[in-house]
Amino acid sequence: MLAALGGVALVFFALPLVGLVSRATPSGLWRQLGAPAVQAALWLSLEVSLVSLGLCLVLGMPLAFLLARVEFPGRALARGLVSLPMVLPPVVGGIALLSAFGRKGLLGGWLAEVGVVLPFTTAGAVVAVTFVSMPFLVMTIEAALASVDPRLEQAAATLGASRWRILQTVTLPAIRPALAAGLALCWARGLGEFGATITFAGNLEGRTQTMPLAVYDALQTDPEAAVTLGLVLLAVSLTLLMALRGRISRR
């Protein structure tokens, strides 16, 4: 029973991938990889998703600590807000970003005054990707922090360790596997991001057209190219994900 149902699930996941591979040809793959628009989209995807991953790490880790370790009024609400982008349709997320950071948005006018324009720019694509992917990192790290044995941190404190030293020597090593998983999830979500990006940052070749957007474009004109691009995205994602997880979970 278990094997039967599990097997059905596995086939369910594998079949579309097999279908995708069966429709691609090696020569087509090669030709697509050489196309300037595809190369631009691929590099832009990597750039946007990695810059966003860095942002998620720098901002998301402190947020996860705040949510896990600091009692403050409205913490439940803050938790809800953080998980919101996970349940929101990404297009709605893009509209929400426009209403906050767009030209006529809440902060848009002020941002424009200091010379920061986000909509329809590469920076805007980074913002869109960060918005939808950071919850994956924050929630993974928060759960991991909550499960760290408080005795270990207390033992370090009695031995004279400063808070910074406790963090480095006890807390971070304890959440290391979760950090790897969180980074991988966060980055994978960012690499596949489509809806919020196209809504907030547009679909401008070389500036905001990441791989998922290029796939979408290709689908309108050349379905075969869309398949190939999809495969390229798949291969790159798989390689980087495995490398990232392997690197971080090993000491």
Binding site: R151, Q154, A156, T158, L159, G160, A161, R165, A174
Partner: protein, 237 residues
């Protein structure tokens, strides 16, 4: 009683109140015994600075650790040695780096701290296990690493919360004898929390009996066990 421990403090936790009054002379090993829920672990947390006193003061070797409300040294500033229940060894560090941890936290260089830690591991017959991680140690070995980690800083107060509980019955007898020897050599006040009167009899000089958050008896171990008050007699059965 200049070098000893003086405590007159209260801790409130929900409906439970710990009222601890005791004075332990320098060099003395005192066993804190009492039934489950009597507040033994709260005593450790209070002295280590992990829970605040709601009232009263703690003085160690002439230095005020806490005077509520207002003055409260954080755990880092107390300089105690603590062997926690369950030991709380750092899983990502080797035995050597676990033992060196307190010295490193005090700013000693890595090489020097490790050299001293190696000496302490040798003293506890763990010299060859320096590179092992806690998960690769037996219960008895882990217990000795935790003891070395706490003792290496030569604390004025050494707190041991059920240090023998991770050992099976056979290992326990031998460990008691060893522990008595090590504690006898250590300066400062030693406080041993145990639910086992045999541990207290074998290791401690004095006995402090705790029941429902209050000290109900205090005195030399042999005298108290020879003519036990009723609640102690009940524990002995």
């Amino acid at each position: 009683m200049k070098g000893g421990l003086e405590v007159d403090a209260e801790v409130r936790r929900g409906s439970f109140t710990l009222a601890l009054r005791c004075s332990v002379p320098e060099g003395c090993t005192v066993a804190l015994v009492g039934p489950n829920g009597s507040g033994k672990s709260t005593v450790v947390e209070l002295l280590a600075g992990l829970v605040p006193a709601s009232r009263g003061s703690i003085t160690l070797a002439g230095r005020v650790l806490e005077r509520a409300p207002g003055l409260r040294l954080p755990p880092q500033a107390r300089g105690l040695g603590v062997v926690f229940q369950g030991l709380a060894l750092f899983p990502s560090l080797t035995a050597l780096d676990n033992v060196a941890y307190g010295l490193r936290s005090r700013g000693l260089g890595r090489a020097q701290a490790r050299a001293q830690a190696q000496v302490w591991l040798g003293r506890f017959e763990l010299g060859e296990l320096a590179d092992r991680r806690p998960e690769e140690l037996s219960g008895g070995q882990a217990q000795r690493v935790a003891l070395a980690r706490a003792m290496i800083v030569r604390p004025p107060l050494l707190l041991l919360d059920e240090p023998l509980s991770s050992l099976d019955v056979e290992a326990r007898g031998a460990a008691r004898t060893l522990l008595r020897g090590w504690l006898a050599e250590a300066p400062g006040v030693k406080l041993l929390v145990t639910h086992d009167l045999e541990d207290a009899r074998a290791i401690a000089d004095r006995l402090l009996v705790l029941d429902r958050g209050k000290v109900v008896a205090e005195g030399p171990v042999e005298a108290l066990l020879a003519a036990p008050p009723p609640f102690l007699a009940a524990m002995m059965r």
